[in-house]
């Protein structure tokens, strides 16, 4: 396939172009309650062309490899037409061409595991959860996500690489007297099938937690100090800060860009944040991004100061900052956009016990439950919480969501733990230049942290 793409690009005589071809294989197995409801495999192909010509930029996706030539010709014409309307040509930072093959190491390749074995493993965990008294139903899903990609550019890049990820996710629902609560347990997050084995304890614990939440009080609305567990703290840094470190989010927002200039004291001096796609066996691990740039470690906040940003070649040129290798697409039907790889809070010096002891009236929040951001506003949920009173953990609480404003919240990070832990399951949804791209290859990590004040939403 690379030969075909390179031959086509050799004929390109206007501006620059690149092309990506993908062969994707996925498996989804789903149980709802005791019943197997979905057994689905994917075997899809497709391509994506980007053309930078005449000062403009045009993008095109296609299904049939025979359409590559047509798509490139049409994209070239569209880019040239658009370029005539631009005040400044689209620029891209120079990057060394990458040539090579990059394959994900797979201690035990999930693609080689028989379908029946995957089903049985999922059925086992599902039965464990359903066996806990009070649990009324589950949604258990096995997700295998594999993509082999071929990328070449008129600038000399020619790369074959693959992406592979396997997860098990169980949503466990308990009900009593009209109250329904659910919890989620998920594991995997790498290319190693072995990671899915021997997780009975976590499944049982989370199922029992769902039942416990039925009799827990709802969180009280107001502003409180909160201690976040590593999974929740990872979600916090992903939502509250990570999306704003993606340069395309602020590229065309001059006033906001000024507040996020490199060198700005943006956070508490004990907070340091890094994005790194080269940490092995995490959800957001990769070698090369989808515009042919090698993935690399990027320090984003160092001791409270903004020191780096995530870029495409285009935003790197516009900001006058180094490219970071963070342009990624979910599949061939989407153009690459800037995405975090594995974003994490660097470990600090405090202990979890220190943090709880420092709170008179607040919450301990456990387990991420999704979040969302819009500029400087963010919100995220927890699977459950514990009230903290007078420096001690108290009762379990349910239905807990938080929100805040980026800049003030980053400055209110009062303690950072010494217990950095990466979450096994990541994922992120982002829409830019088109529909929402739900990318499972996005990781996060953090130690426990204490934030002096966030807004907790609740109906009480």
């Amino acid at each position: 396939m690379l030969r075909q793409i390179n031959s086509l690009l050799a004929t390109q005589n206007a501006g620059h172009a690149d092309a990506r071809w993908e062969e994707n294989k996925r498996v989804v197995i789903t149980y709802r309650g005791p019943t197997l409801t979905d057994c689905r495999t994917y075997s899809t192909t497709g391509g994506h062309v980007r053309c930078f010509a005449g000062g403009g930029k045009a993008l095109s996706s296609m299904t049939d490899p025979a359409d590559l030539e047509r798509a490139l010709a049409e994209a070239t014409r569209a880019a040239q037409a658009m370029g005539k309307l631009r005040k400044h040509p689209v620029r891209r930072g120079s990057e060394q061409a990458v040539v090579g093959t990059f394959h994900t190491p797979t201690p035990r390749d999930p693609r080689a595991v028989p379908m029946s074995e995957k089903r049985e493993l999922l059925a086992h965990y599902n039965s464990l959860a359903l066996g806990v008294p009070g649990v009324i139903t589950t949604r258990a899903e096995y997700q295998e996500w594999g993509s082999t990609r071929y990328f070449a550019s008129t600038e000399g890049s020619s790369v074959e690489y693959d992406l592979l990820l396997v997860n098990i996710v169980l949503r466990i629902t308990a009900r009593k007297n009209g109250v329904v609560q659910d919890t989620v347990v998920s594991f995997g997050g790498s290319a190693d099938y072995e990671r899915l084995l021997d997780r009975d304890e976590e499944v049982s614990e989370r199922a029992e937690r769902a039942v416990e939440l039925l009799s827990a009080p709802q969180a009280k609305a107001g502003t409180f100090p909160v201690v976040l567990d590593p999974d929740e703290a990872g979600l916090f840094i992903h939502e509250a800060f990570g999306h704003l470190s993606e340069a395309d989010g602020i590229q065309h927002n001059p006033s906001f860009r000024g507040r996020l200039a490199l060198g700005t004291e943006i956070a508490s001096s004990i907070l340091s944040v890094t994005d790194d796609p080269r940490i092995e066996e995490l959800p957001g691990t990769y070698d090369v991004d989808d515009e042919g740039v090698r993935g690399r470690r990027t320090e984003l906040i160092k001791e409270g100061k903004l020191v780096g940003r995530l870029h495409s070649r285009e935003t790197a040129a516009e900001f006058g900052e180094p490219a970071s290798g963070n342009m990624r697409a979910v599949d061939a039907y989407y153009t690459p956009i800037i995405r975090m790889s594995n974003i994490f809070i660097e470990p600090g010096e405090s202990t979890f016990a220190d943090m709880v002891a420092a709170v008179d009236d607040g919450y301990y929040l456990v387990g991420s439950k999704g979040g969302q951001t819009s500029g400087d506003q963010f919100t995220f949920g927890a699977q459950y919480g514990r009230r903290i009173r007078n420096g001690r953990l108290a009762e379990v609480v349910r239905d807990i969501n938080m929100s805040g404003e980026l800049f003030s919240t980053l400055r209110r990070v009062r303690m950072v733990g010494d217990d950095l832990k990466y979450s096994e399951r990541g994922g992120c949804g982002k829409g830019s230049l088109g529909p929402m791209q739900l990318n499972p290859k996005s990781g996060k990590g953090a130690p426990h942290i204490l934030i002096e004040q966030v807004t907790v939403g609740g109906t009480r």
Binding site: R32, T35, L36, D38, C39, R40, T41, Y42, S43, T44, T45, G56, K57, A58, L59, S60, S61, M62, T63, E74, A78, A81, M82, L85, R86, K87, M115, R175, V179, V180, A221, G222, T223, G249, H252, N253, P254, S255, F256, G258, R259, T335, G370, G371, Q372, S374, Q377, F378, T379, F380, N401, S403, L433, G434, M436, Q453, T455, G457, G458, T459
Partner: protein, 428 residues
């Protein structure tokens, strides 16, 4: 497709082939100039087979023998299939067959540029983003039991948005059109009015306050409701609306319909079941549930034409059908929405909420960070920052005042809804 179905029949399989062809075209204008043009031509297919009572599904780019074989393999030890694939032709005109006329990249760029120009003529400092797109999607479904039909959904969508000054959080306005004809002046004026309300930051005192939900925020009502009337949650016995047919579940000011036969909808669902307009809530009384073929069979009901490959996250041609509305429509009321604003002494006007998916919404709960404005003495005072709004649709959506103005989007249509009291919290 006929060859694939013939192959399936020879292998003694019941089969359903879903084939979607999309040709989206879009232009984006930002930073004072066009930033990208996208023109795709892509195919996605999914084949479901039933073999020995077991269901398997495989997805590919186009239907071929390899996808069929993968579906057959997935059916080996696969899920129980208590239903049959569609077999009756749908005797309806395709409501979405009218293609937007003569829309090309140049026209989309022209529309985007015009709206951009109108906005910056008034306020040159606004970093406005305009996105103009032509959507065209043709779906063909054929089964071994004789169903074979296709429908096209096409429209033009023009949206304008911008981040507030030094904030990054955005306000947006959009229009969905059957043709490329757009009143750019009207859209830019509406956008400018909403943007200008956000020049200042303002917040009410925390507590239980009236909240006016703009049509774009009506999903805080409709999504928990959809989750609860889904045949899936009824079958799983997690729905708070189980057994409540013909009972009052929402305020009597609220009526909700499914209107799939709108030109933005279709005549059959993603399983080939005919769609029809249906009342779901009539003056607060629950009148219907949503069933796809599988959940209908499990619940001994008839499929309601609501087997769609849609979800809060992750739907699309490669997803499995599940119960979902064709096109939800909240009935309009009598009042002008501006008068509803004018009648608020202290409250909120909300056009969006962040973090909805983190809420326990199946039970009717939502707890979101509100995107919107503080209203005081009937006047919009400024945009909200760090304000959370929480409620429960079954407890709080009574005595709702409903506007006569509705906004039409691709998946829904809704008026403004003034909820008497929701819990509002913020950090000050």
């Amino acid at each position: 497709m006929k060859k694939i179905l013939s192959e399936a029949s020879q292998r003694n399989l019941a089969a359903e082939v879903y084939w979607c062809t999309r040709e989206p075209l879009s232009a984006r204008f930002e930073g004072g100039q066009p930033s990208a043009v996208v023109q795709d031509q892509v195919d996605q297919c999914a084949i479901r087979v039933i073999r020995n009572g077991k269901l398997g599904m495989a997805c590919g780019s186009r239907p071929d023998k390899a996808v069929l074989a993968a579906a057959e393999e997935a059916a080996t030890g696969g899920a129980e299939a208590p239903f049959r694939f569609a077999d009756e032709p749908v005797a309806l005109e395709d409501p979405g067959a009218k293609e937007p006329q003569a829309v090309d990249v140049d026209e989309l760029l022209e529309v985007a540029e015009k709206i951009h120009r109108l906005v910056v003529q008034e306020r040159s400092e606004i970093p406005v983003v305009v996105h103009a797109s032509r959507h065209k999607e043709t779906v063909r479904i054929a089964t071994t039991s004789g169903f074979d039909d296709q429908q096209t959904r096409s429209f033009v969508l023009v949206s304008v948005n911008a981040p507030f000054h030094e904030a990054g959080s955005r306000v947006w306005k959009s229009r969905v059109l059957d043709t490329a004809a757009l009143d750019a002046q009207d859209l830019s004026e509406e956008f400018l009015a909403w943007y200008t309300w956000g020049d200042a930051i303002s917040a009410p005192a925390p507590g239980r306050l009236p909240v006016l939900l703009a049509p774009e925020a009506s999903y805080l009502l409709t999504m928990p409701f959809v989750a609860a009337i889904s045949g899936e949650s009824l079958h799983q016995r997690t729905s708070p609306l189980e057994g409540k047919l013909d009972q009052q579940v929402l305020g009597d000011e609220i009526s909700i319909m499914d209107r799939p036969n709108d030109p933005l909808g279709g005549k059959f669902d993603d399983e080939g079941t005919p769609c029809a307009d249906r009342v779901l809530v009539e003056q607060g009384n629950l009148r219907g549930y949503l069933f796809d073929r599988r959940t209908a069979a499990l619940m001994s009901e008839r499929p309601t034409g609501n087997g769609f490959k849609r979800a809060l996250f992750g739907g699309g041609p490669w997803a499995s059908p599940n119960p979902w509305p064709g096109r939800l429509s909240v009935a309009a009321g009598q009042e002008d929405w501006r008068e509803l604003v004018a009648g608020i002494d202290e409250g909120l006007l909300v056009y969006g909420g962040m973090g909805f998916h983190s809420s326990n919404f199946l039970q009717g709960n939502f707890s979101v960070q509100a995107l919107g404005y503080h209203v005081e003495d009937g006047v919009v005072r400024g945009r909200l920052q760090g304000v959370m709004v929480a409620g429960n649709i079954y407890d709080d959506f009574h005595g709702v005042r409903v506007s006569r103005d509705t906004v039409r989007h691709t998946e829904f249509e809704s008026p403004y809804l003034l909820v008497p009291q929701l819990q509002v919290a913020h950090g000050g």
